[in-house]
Symmetry: C2
Subunit: 366 residues, 2 copies
DNA sequence: ATTGCGAATGTAAGCGCATACAGTGAAGGT
DNA sequence: ACCTTCACTGTATGCGCTTACATTCGCAAT
C-alpha cells in the first residue's frame, strides 16, 4: 500500500489538491461542508502530510536543531546486553563512591528546556550529540534539516559554525563568545563564583583559599576563576599568592589531587572547586581519611548537580539554571528567526549560590 | 544573501547539478579533480544541502521520531527567571527529603540510548514530549517528518497510533502490547520482581510481605505485581492473603502510606514497592520515625534510579536497562525499515536485581 | 585512424506540497 | 436584467534535490 498524498485525498473527496492543502493549513478559508468531507477522506486514507514536501514548498522546516558535545564516552561496551540469555541477574551491589553512570544531567536539562520552548512556539526539535573527533558530518546534516541551530559550548569548530551559519541562524550556549556574530546565552559564572568566594572570605574569615581549576582550555572555568580572583582582590588579598590546583573537571582525577594534598600535610582552610564533580572527588578522599568537612576544610563546587545535593556532607555550590538555559537559547533563536536583521544578542542567566553543609557546618546560617 | 543551492554550486564550478549531487552522495562516481572543484565551490558558497528537498526526492528522510509522554508538570512556573534583575542570589539551602526536580532520568536515558543507536546507523533523531491532553497534533507533525517513530509507553492513543502507522512503522517501548501489529520492546518486569521477592522469601524467611502498588492502570505495575504473586505461590503462600497498598508511583504519596502504616501499628517484615520513588517515600518517613531499615522492615523498589543508589540506606531494587531500552527500540525500528514485511517482533530486555542495604543490612551477602 | 566500452557527466522528470493567480457562482446592488 | 462583490475553489508553477536514462569522453584494443 503506497502512502497517501494530497492527490489521493483530493481525488477521494472530489476537490483539488489546493483545497486539501487549505483544509490542513488554513481551515477557515474552506467551506465547512467541504472541510468535513476532506477531513473524512484524510481519516479514511490514513493521510499524513509529508513534511519534506511542505518544508520545501514553504521554504521553512519548522524544526530547530540542538547540538551537544558528548561527555559520556561509555560508548561501545554495549553490544553484549542484547545477546543475554537470562532475563534476570541477581547482583549484590556494594557501595562505592565512583560514578556509576556519567552525570549528564546537564544536557538532559538543557534539552528539556529547549524542547518545551520549541514546541510551545510550533517548532519541532532535532537533537544531535557530537561523538568522536569529527562532528562536521552530523552538524551539516542537521543544518540542512532545520530553520536554526542551537549549539552547546564549543562542540563545533569555528569554521564549521561559520559555514552553517551562512544558511541558518546559530545560537550558542555557554562557552566563549565566538567573534560577535552569534547570539549567545550563558550563565553568570564570574559573578556566581565571586559571590561564593566572598562569602567564604567574609563570613568564614578564610584567608588562604585554594582554587581547584578545571582544564586550562575551559572558558567556563576561566570565567569562574576570574570570579574567584575578583573576590580575593576585593578582600585585599593578592591573587598571585594564592595557589591553583589544576584538575580536569573529573571526579576521579580530583581524588588524586586530594591525596597529594593530604600527603603534603598542608591543608588550606577552603578548597574552591571549578565544578561539582571535582568537589565530590575531594569529599570521596577526605571522608575516609578522617578529614572533616567543613571543620577541617571547606569544600565548594560549581554547577549544582544532583549528586552534590545527596552527598555527605551536602555540597555548597553555585547552581546553574540548566533548564532555563535551554529555554533562553530557544527564545533567542525564535527571536532571531522573526527578526533576522537584529544585532546579535548576548544574555546571561542568573545563578544561585547554594550554601550547604560542606561550607556551613550543620548549624546552618552563614 | 540567498542561501546557496545545487544550482549555484553547479554554476560556480561549471558542472551540472547532477554532478554536484553525486559529489555529495556518491563521491566515488565522480572524477577526483571534478570532485575537488565542486567541493571548493561548496566551501566558497557556504552551501548546505536542503534536507527537505533531498528527503522529498529520495522518498526517505533519514530521521527517526521519538515520542515521550510527559511526567514533569512543573511547566509554567518559568517566565520569571528571564526578568530577573540580580545575577546572583545567595540561598541557604536546608536539607529536605522532597524531590527538588522531577527525576525524569528514565526518559533521558532512553533518549540517550536511542540517539546513539540512531546516529550510528545514519539516522537523525527528532524528539517530542507529549504534554497536556492532546498529543495528536504533535504526533502527526512528527509522523510527517520521519521514516519511523518510536513511542514510549501509552503516550499516544491507539487510534492516532493506527493512523500514523499507515504511513510509517511504529515501535513501542514498555507499556502494554497494542494488538499485535507493532514491534514492541520492554523489560522483564515480572521476572525481575519475582526474583527479588523470591530472594526475600527464601533468604530472609519473610512470610508476610506487603506489596506497594502503583496506579491501577499501569501495565508495568501489573506485570510487576504478577511477579510478586508468582513468587508467593512458588513459596506456597496464598497471594489472596497478602495485602496490597495502593500507591500512585509518587514519592510524596508514598509518605502518606508510610504514616498510615506506622499509625496502624502493624509493620510487615517487608514492603515490596512497585517503583523506587515509592520506596524512597517510605524511607523518608521510616528514618525520622525511628523505624530501622532493614532491621525492622525491609524495603525494596523497582527501576534502579540514581536516587536509590544515594539514599540511606541504599535501596535494593530491580534495575532496568534504560539506555539499552532505547537502543533496542531503535534497532527494532532499523530492522523494520529494512524488512518492512517481517512479522512484528517483541523483545524483552533482561533486568538486574540489585541487593543493597535496604534489604541486606550492612553485612552484605544475601 | 577506428571501434568499443566503461567511466564520467549531462538531461530531464518528478518527489508532495504551498501559494499566487485565475476562475466560478451566488448574493447584493442598481 | 446587468454589474459588483465576495467567498470559495481550481490551475499551474516551483521549492531543491535524486536518479533513470541518454550522452559524451578517454583510452585500450584492433
Amino acid at each position: 500500500m503506497k502512502t497517501a498524498t494530497v492527490y489521493d485525498v483530493a481525488a477521494h473527496s472530489g476537490v483539488s489538491i489546493a483545497t486539501v492543502s487549505r483544509v490542513l493549513r488554513r481551515p477557515d478559508d474552506v467551506r465547512a461542508s467541504t472541510r468535513a468531507r476532506v477531513l473524512a477522506s484524510v481519516r479514511v486514507l490514513g493521510y499524513v502530510p509529508s513534511a519534506s514536501a511542505r518544508s520545501l514548498a514553504a521554504r521553512r522546516t519548522g524544526v530547530i536543531g540542538l547540538f551537544f558535545p558528548s561527555i559520556d564516552d561509555e560508548d561501545d561496551h554495549a553490544e553484549a546486553v542484547f545477546e543475554q540469555d537470562t532475563q534476570v541477574r541477581i547482583v549484590v551491589d556494594i557501595p562505592d563512591t565512583g560514578e556509576v553512570r556519567p552525570p549528564n544531567l546537564y544536557f538532559d536539562e538543557v534539552l528539556r528546556g529547549s524542547e518545551r520552548e520549541a514546541w510551545r512556539h510550533g517548532f519541532a526539535l532535532m537533537v544531535g550529540v557530537g561523538r568522536g573527533a569529527d562532528p562536521s558530518a552530523m552538524v551539516n546534516d542537521i543544518a540542512g534539516r532545520v530553520d536554526g541551530m542551537v549549539v552547546l559550548a564549543r562542540s563545533v569548530p569555528d569554521e564549521l559554525l561559520d559555514h552553517v551559519s551562512r544558511r541558518i541562524p546559530v545560537v550558542l550556549i555557554a562557552g566563549p563568545r565566538r567573534g560577535d556574530d552569534y547570539d549567545h546565552v550563558s550563565v553568570s559564572n564570574t559573578e556566581g563564583m565571586r559571590a561564593l568566594t566572598e562569602h567564604l572570605l567574609d563570613r568564614h574569615r578564610v584567608t588562604d583559599p585554594v582554587y581547584v581549576a578545571g582544564p586550562a582550555d575551559s572558558p567556563d572555568d576561566a570565567e569562574r576563576y576570574r570570579g574567584f580572583v575578583e573576590a580575593l582582590e576585593a578582600a585585599g588579598l593578592d591573587p598571585a599568592g594564592v595557589p591553583v590546583l589544576r584538575g580536569n573537571f573529573s571526579r576521579v582525577q580530583a581524588r588524586t589531587l586530594a591525596q597529594e594534598l593530604l600527603a603534603s600535610g598542608r591543608l588550606p582552610r577552603a578548597l574552591v572547586c571549578g565544578n561539582d564533580q571535582m568537589a565530590l572527588g575531594l569529599l570521596d578522599v577526605f571522608g575516609p581519611a578522617g578529614v572533616r568537612v567543613p571543620e577541617d576544610v571547606i569544600v565548594t563546587g560549581f554547577d549544582g548537580i544532583e549528586a552534590g545535593r545527596l552527598s555527605t556532607p551536602r555540597l555548597s555550590t553555585v547552581h546553574q539554571p540548566m533548564v532555563d538555559l535551554g529555554r533562553a537559547a530557544m527564545r533567542a533563536m525564535l527571536s532571531r528567526l522573526e527578526h533576522p536583521e537584529q544585532p546579535p544578542i548576548t544574555s546571561r542567566l542568573p545563578v544561585k549560590v547554594l550554601l550547604r553543609e560542606s561550607s556551613e557546618g550543620s548549624g546552618i546560617g552563614g
